[in-house]
């Protein structure tokens, strides 16, 4: 997916889709971003990893999306996990609104994939 602000690069690690969000997410493209992330999930998917290490901007619109997505997946016995670089502005925003309390957040993709098979708490 490509918008002028951001694009989503998808990777598959076995049954786990990884969505790498490159660029900026705000109110103008959050809807499209949500549709794209949801489309990666199949009934057989156990987890979705959203990699925000290449995300340069994320405000409440994007954070709200991730909160909502986390709830949706949990309701379907699926797991959403995030990859956010330590010390990045994004991790501060995630912490600020408490998203890290609602959704598992990892510093690297490898870490996130290692935990991807875990059953949601």
């Amino acid at each position: 997916m490509t918008t002028t602000l951001a694009r989503v690069v998808e990777e598959w690690h076995d049954e786990v889709p990884v969505a790498r969000v490159e660029g900026e997410v705000d109110a103008s493209n959050v809807q499209e971003m949500g549709d794209r992330l949801r489309s990666l999930l199949t009934n057989r998917s156990l987890a979705l990893v959203v990699d925000l290490t290449a995300t340069t901007y994320l405000d409440s619109a994007g954070l709200n999306l991730l909160f909502a997505l986390g709830e949706e997946l949990r309701g379907r016995q699926q797991r959403l996990s995030l990859v956010v670089a330590e010390g990045s502005p994004i991790i501060r925003m995630v912490a600020l609104v408490g998203l890290d309390k609602a959704v598992p957040v990892h510093a690297t993709l490898a870490e996130a994939l290692a935990h991807a098979g875990e059953v949601p708490e």
Partner: protein, 707 residues
């Protein structure tokens, strides 16, 4: 004048004769005077005929001017040479001559014999001893004119001569005056048709005015102009006076047929004295009761482009002078029509051209942009020069310029296709090299064997850089804030050379306050000058002028012949603006606006020394306030909300104003904006006014985490 001897007044006829020469005669016009004179002479002398012949100006010929009983003399314009024949002898010898028997005399004028005149008596008309003509009387029966007759006739002639001379001089004066007046009238008429002020009228007004003036000058009742169609087959009524139906009903006349058709086919004036007996196609002319017509062709460079005709409701014989005057008007009309046609064509061309170029440059906050497009002065078709400027996300701006070879609709259409394709590929997020490669491949599809130059650059004001891809286009110019100008190294072959062409892109520094100038070759290519000389001139000129508008104006004035370029010219100047202590921007209430605002605010914050974290935090907080404005501002429009940022005393204050009502967000995951703002800033105030809502955010720079 001969004295009047008393003895001669014995004759009773003298009283009659007195009337001949009474003062009243002097007041008559010449013809009336002569008629009266001859009447009285035939009575007084009891003759059958009488005639007056006057000497011409050269004194060589006598012209029969008045006659009684031998009216044929005047009607046939009898002329008698001085010295010859009866009358000629009288003038030459300045004395009376009597001819008792015409049969045995030297008589030149056959009419005298044909009328059966047997005897004649003639005397000279003398004024101060100078002969001005002859008066003679004749009888159908033989008569021996005596001395009394002779004296009487001479006496009458002497007294009449002066009156005749006066009347004649007066007549000559009147004729001369009439001729002079006619000449003046004609001159005025010509002036009215060639009047320079007509040039200021629109074509419709000019044609109407010419028809008005022609009908007035030629005392005509109707006038019309018909134009030949592009195929040269049909004449269409274009303007009319007195026969407005011609235009209203869209009269069409085939060339070669009817009155107007004949004029166009034969390329010459045609006069129709009597419409009833002529081949007239147009029924309107007959219906309007037109009797006589005069028409002339409209010529442009020897080519017939139409017909101008006038008509009268009364029978009229149009003169060559009328025809010449009408032709003059026709020439004038033809010239104006041709000018108007060329002007209209050029206007349409320019209008199409402009519709293909960005009609209004997109306003991109933080970027000053100016552009010019000038069609070649001699151009009659559309040109292929183009430019474009558009945001490509991330606060970056795409700027493009190109030059399609050739003119006319194909070139303009291709130009529009290239411009659109380039935008689409740019919006898809491709960089300059990739965009050019894609446009190149597209060109091979839509217009094989067409070459065109283009340059596409992405300007990143935040990074203070530009990334360029160039396809054979003249090198863009960068003028840095210190006003040193340098060309970016242009490389790459033109689009359309090969569909396998690979393009490279290169990044160059463009410090804030620099001007980027793109242009087409018409700016630097001057006939008789090397390309390098043109580039040098442009660089020198750019170093002398500040501001994008000023720069474009200067180029138009100094490089492209004051706005009348020999070739098409397009140029685009863009400058990321330097920031001050206060930044004010206005935005449409659309989510799309957020990204633009974010980038300009980021640049402004960095400019004032904010750290990356501070920049991020303040930007997010401001965005949250703006997102609310976008969602709730009740007044959508081009400038629905305003963001003001002020740097003072080490602190930054951002105020977001909109014209709507502040609302707390509803929904499960909608209420995080306000807590985020409060967490990211030292203070957040929401002020409600009658105009709308203002959110005021404040944070001290260099103070670490706000709370």
């Amino acid at each position: 004048m001969t004295p009047e001897p008393a003895a001669q007044w014995r004759d009773p006829r003298l009283s009659h004769l007195q009337q001949i020469t009474d003062a009243a005669l002097a007041h008559l016009a010449l013809d009336d005077l002569l008629a009266a004179l001859l009447d009285r002479l035939t009575q007084a002398l009891d003759t059958d005929t009488a005639a007056v012949l006057l000497l011409d100006d050269e004194g060589q010929m006598l012209h029969a001017r008045a006659a009684k009983g031998i009216e044929e003399e005047v009607e046939q314009g009898v002329r008698i040479p001085v010295g010859r024949g009866f009358a000629g002898r009288i003038v030459a010898e300045r004395r009376a001559v009597a001819i008792p028997d015409v049969d045995h005399a030297d008589i030149l004028n056959p009419i005298l014999r044909q009328k059966g005149i047997r005897s004649l008596l003639g005397v000279p008309l003398l004024v101060d001893g100078r002969p001005i003509g002859v008066v003679h009387v004749g009888t159908l029966t033989p008569r021996l004119f005596d001395e009394d007759d002779r004296d009487l006739l001479q006496l009458a002639a002497d007294r009449a001569a002066l009156a005749i001379d006066h009347a004649r001089v007066y007549e000559l004066e009147r004729a001369a005056r009439a001729a002079a007046e006619a000449a003046v009238h004609r001159l005025q008429s010509v002036q009215r048709v060639t009047d320079a002020t007509l040039a200021y009228l629109s074509l419709e007004e000019l044609l109407a005015e010419l028809l008005d003036r022609m009908t007035e000058i030629l005392s005509a009742d109707t006038a019309a102009i018909l134009m030949l169609d592009d195929e040269g087959q049909m004449l269409h009524a274009r303007a009319a006076k007195g026969i407005e139906e011609e235009v209203e009903q869209g009269v069409r006349i085939p060339v070669g047929r009817g009155f107007a058709g004949r004029i166009a086919a034969e390329r010459r004036p045609v006069t129709i004295p009597d419409v009833d007996h002529a081949d007239i196609l147009n029924p309107i002319l007959r219906q309007k009761g037109i009797r006589s017509l005069l028409g002339v062709p409209l010529f442009v460079e020897g080519r017939v482009i139409g017909v101008l005709h006038v008509g009268t409701l009364r029978h009229r014989e149009f003169t060559p002078a009328d025809r010449d005057l009408l032709q003059l008007a026709a020439d004038r009309a033809a010239l104006a029509i041709e000018h108007a046609r060329l002007y209209e064509q050029r206007r349409v061309t320019e209008s199409v051209q402009r519709s293909l170029l960005p009609d209004r440059l997109e306003r991109i906050p933080g970027l000053e942009v100016a552009a010019r497009y000038l069609p070649a002065a001699s151009a009659t078709g559309l040109g292929g020069d183009w430019y474009d400027v558009f945001p490509v996300g991330g606060g970056r701006v795409g700027v493009a310029i190109g030059d399609v070879v050739g003119r006319g609709l194909p070139a303009a259409t291709l130009m529009a296709q290239l411009r659109t394709a380039l935008r689409v590929y740019a919006f898809d997020g491709h960089g300059p090299a990739e965009v050019l490669e894609r446009v190149n491949r597209m060109l091979a599809h839509v217009a094989p064997a067409t070459m065109t130059t283009a340059a596409y650059l992405v300007l990143d004001p935040e990074d203070e850089s530009v990334t360029m891809g160039c396809a054979g286009h003249p090198p863009p110019l960068v003028v840095d804030p210190a006003r040193h100008a340098h060309y970016l190294p242009a490389c790459g072959v033109a689009l359309g050379v090969s569909r396998a062409t690979r393009y490279v892109e290169e990044r160059f520094d463009v410090p804030v306050g620099s001007t980027l100038l793109l242009y087409t070759d018409g700016v630097v290519e001057v006939r008789g000058e090397s390309l390098d000389a043109g580039l040098d001139r442009l660089r020198a000129l750019a170093e002398r002028h500040d501001g994008v508008e000023e720069l474009c104006d200067a180029i138009v004035a100094e490089m492209v012949g004051g706005g009348s370029p020999a070739d098409d010219v397009a140029m685009l100047a863009a400058r990321p603006v330097a920031f001050g202590e206060r930044l004010i921007t206005r935005w449409p209430a659309q989510a799309d606006a957020l990204a633009g605002l974010r980038h300009i605010l980021r640049r402004w914050l960095r400019h004032h020394g904010a750290t990356d974290d501070e920049t991020y935090d303040i930007t997010v907080a401001a965005q949250e306030a703006c997102a609310n404005a976008v969602e709730h501002a009740y007044a959508p429009g081009p400038e629905a909300f305003e963001v003001e940022a002020v740097h003072a005393g080490g602190a930054v204050q951002v105020t977001v104003r909109d014209r709507g009502q502040w609302r707390r967000a509803r929904g499960t995951h909608r209420g995080r904006g306000m807590p985020m703002m409060e967490a990211l800033m030292e203070s957040v105030h929401v002020q409600h006014t009658s105009d709308g809502t203002a959110v005021v955010l404040r944070r001290t720079l260099g103070g670490g985490s706000p709370r």
